[in-house]
Symmetry: C2
Subunit: 87 residues, 2 copies
């Protein structure tokens, strides 16, 4: 069965406070860096999924996100399926 | 000046232990999910950078990664610059 490399980007939903991002943004002027705004820190989860095609790989991972990987009250998940390799 | 949306994916370098990823992977069979392996958990940092072009935006963010956003001993950073919007 082919194996698909999948990236899940988990972001805090708009309006949810992001203390990590706020701390980074507050520190930038002290480092002499200007022109950077809107810093938000999320998670990037990479996994390998064995599936018959990329639609099935996406379905498996979206199910995992809803049940387990994210908290849908405060987080959004974006699933990207990359090229397959044969096993 | 145009503003660029930038995504920084911070991953643990190969060989660095990833307890979060290992815990997720160990839990999957208990949830009835098979065929998933190689789970690695990193950070996805999104920011908006004002710069004259996307090369300059990338340069600013790569400098930030090296100085501040990542620990280059244990982490790798991948910078992706997305389309610009005018401010």
């Amino acid at each position: 069965m082919p194996a698909f490399e999948v990236l899940v980007e988990v972001t805090l939903r708009p309006g949810i406070a992001d203390p990590q991002g706020a701390t980074i943004e507050r520190s930038l002027p002290l480092l002499g860096v200007g022109g950077v705004s809107g810093v938000r820190v999320g998670k990037a989860i990479r996994l390998t999924v064995e599936a018959s095609d990329d639609d099935e790989a996406r379905r498996v991972v979206e199910d995992l996100c809803a049940r387990f990987l994210t908290n849908p009250v405060i987080e959004d998940a974006t699933v990207s399926v990359a090229a397959a390799s044969m096993r």
